[in-house]
Structure formats: structure tokens, C-alpha cells
């Protein structure tokens, strides 16, 4: 475990570091003349509404619909099951290409939110991670669909089972395991230099 010298905000005697590693507090204090120990920055509005932000309940609702559909497909299997999988793969593709707010399940969520009616949204999140999750779903479920159509039914349904498991986790716990482990994947893909 190397020391964190390169990351340490206390730059006493250290080499200059790239701007993105520089201590926010130190730089903002320097800007303020170094006399005031001001807060690092104003509280970020990262959980409020705004462009690129979505109601956190939306992706969870969508993943619940996805999990339900894939569970039905896994139970029914046969041609009907494959058609259900194809529908979900199409939904993944729409959400990946056009963004999660254009997903049919997002439209359904907004309809439910208005019709139910649900309380107004309180928490928002960036749309980027859910879109990444949809891309993961597209990759695995799409591969599964190809396998099913090619006659490799066991492989295909295992892939669908994996997507079902991850969609269930997102729906019931609000966790996107793929999003968190993306870094691990990057490290493996990036090779060992």
C-alpha cells in the first residue's frame, strides 16, 4: 500500500499536483486571501431538480417493471417468453440510446405518478448512472435474446436470470451494483500497466 502523498491535501514540500487533485478548501481559501476558513463550497444541489436530474423513484419503478416482465418470461419461456424478453430488450435500447426519461417504463411511471397520485418527488439523481445501468441491461439481456433466437436456450435464460437478479436488487434496495463495480471492470479492462 503506497502512501497517499500524491493525494494529500497538505502540500507541504510535495511536488505540484494536477489541478483536479488540489484541495478544494486550500484553493478556495487562497482565493479568499487565506484569512477565512470558509466552507469548501456551497452545499451542492446534487439532490435537487434540474436538467439531467430524474426522480429517484423512476429508475426503481422501471426496474420493478423490468424484473416483473423478466420473471414472467423466465416462468413461461417458449415463444411467448422470448417475445417478452424482446420487448424488454427494446426498452433497454430506447433508454440507452435516447436517455432514461424516454424509456417506456419512465412514461408509465410518470403516468402512475400523476394518476395515483404519488407525493411530489423529493429526491433527485443524475440520469447518467441509470442510463449506464440500462446499457448493462441491454448488453446482457441482448446477448441472452440472441442466444435464445440462436437456439442456445439454457445460456439465454441464464443471461435473463442475471438481469432479473440485478433488476430485483435495484427495485428492492435502490442499489445499482453494476454502477458501483464499474470501476472494477475498468481496472480489469484497462489492463495492468
Amino acid at each position: 500500500m503506497p502512501p497517499l502523498d500524491s493525494l494529500s491535501p497538505s502540500q507541504s514540500g510535495g511536488a505540484p499536483v494536477p489541478g483536479h487533485l488540489q484541495d478544494r478548501a486550500a484553493s478556495s481559501m487562497a482565493a479568499a486571501g487565506g484569512s477565512v476558513l470558509a466552507p469548501v463550497r456551497a452545499p451542492s444541489a446534487s439532490r435537487g431538480p434540474g436538467p439531467g436530474m430524474v426522480d429517484v423513484r423512476g429508475p426503481r419503478f422501471s426496474s420493478a417493471v423490468t424484473a416483473t416482465l423478466l420473471a414472467v418470461a423466465l416462468v413461461v419461456q417458449g415463444p411467448v417468453g422470448v417475445v417478452v424478453v424482446a420487448v424488454q430488450v427494446a426498452v433497454f435500447a430506447i433508454a440507452t440510446i435516447f436517455g432514461v426519461t424516454h424509456s417506456p417504463w419512465a412514461h408509465l411511471f410518470r403516468y402512475v405518478r400523476t394518476a395515483a397520485p404519488l407525493p411530489p418527488p423529493t429526491d433527485f439523481e443524475s440520469a447518467t448512472p441509470p442510463r449506464f445501468a440500462q446499457a448493462c441491461g441491454l448488453l446482457v439481456a441482448g446477448s441472452g435474446l440472441v442466444a435464445l433466437l440462436a437456439g442456445a436456450t439454457t445460456v439465454g435464460w441464464i443471461a435473463i436470470g442475471i438481469v432479473l437478479a440485478l433488476a430485483t436488487v435495484l427495485a428492492t434496495s435502490g442499489l445499482c451494483i453494476g454502477c458501483e463495480l464499474w470501476l472494477l471492470g475498468q481496472r480489469l479492462v484497462g489492463g495492468r500497466r
Partner: protein
Amino acid sequence: MIERLALVAVLVALSTLAGRWWQSRQGRVRRAEAASADVASAVLFTTPTCRTCPQVRTNLDAVAAVHADFRWTEVDAAENLEQARAHGILRAPTVLFTDATGAEVSRASGLLSARAIAVAADLDPTAFEVAA
């Protein structure tokens, strides 16, 4: 059909349990081996796909706003894979708490509350709600 129904039910139940387990480990602070020094600062490793990073960022800011001597930096692990690799970062968000020399004292992955940050950094946590 009945067997498949049972199989799917088991799969859904196991996924739910696995999600709960994963969630219970969120923000658990693990001390580095042979760490004794006081925490001086923190480093937050983030990625563009990370869902809970903005919340951890907000919570770190909240602690820094109350405890002016608490400093933190952010490293985009996607752009700094070498550093993520060097420090064994597998997930984002991961917060490394470091001493004055920059050596790791402890670390926590996942959603970390302002209170947990203050506790991990040996700061007075009373300003932060338990459920923050």
C-alpha cells in the same frame, strides 16, 4: 412450469437478500492495518456511473462546512485508474481517510453519512443527524 416458478421465486428472494446484505455494508468504515495516526483529510474516489457519489460529496461538504480544518479532495477514478489501482479501490464511492503524511488510516465504500464521516475523522459528530 411449477419448477420454473419456484426457481424464479428463489432467484428473486436471493437477489433481494443479496441487495439487503450489500446495503448493510454501505458506509462501513474499515481501519487500515497498523493505522494509529489521526485522520487529517479524506479522499473521495468517484466515477461517472456512481449513483451515490453526489450524496457522499454533499456529506463531505457538510462536514467541511462545520469543521473547517477537515479537508477533502475528489479523484475521478475513471480518469485516474492508476491511483484507483494503487490504492485497491474496487467500488465508487470509496472514501479514504488519511493522516497528515497522506497514509491511509481507514476507508469506507458506498453511501456514507455526514455523521459517519465525522466519526471516522475523529470529529465531533453531534452537529449531524443520525439519519443524515
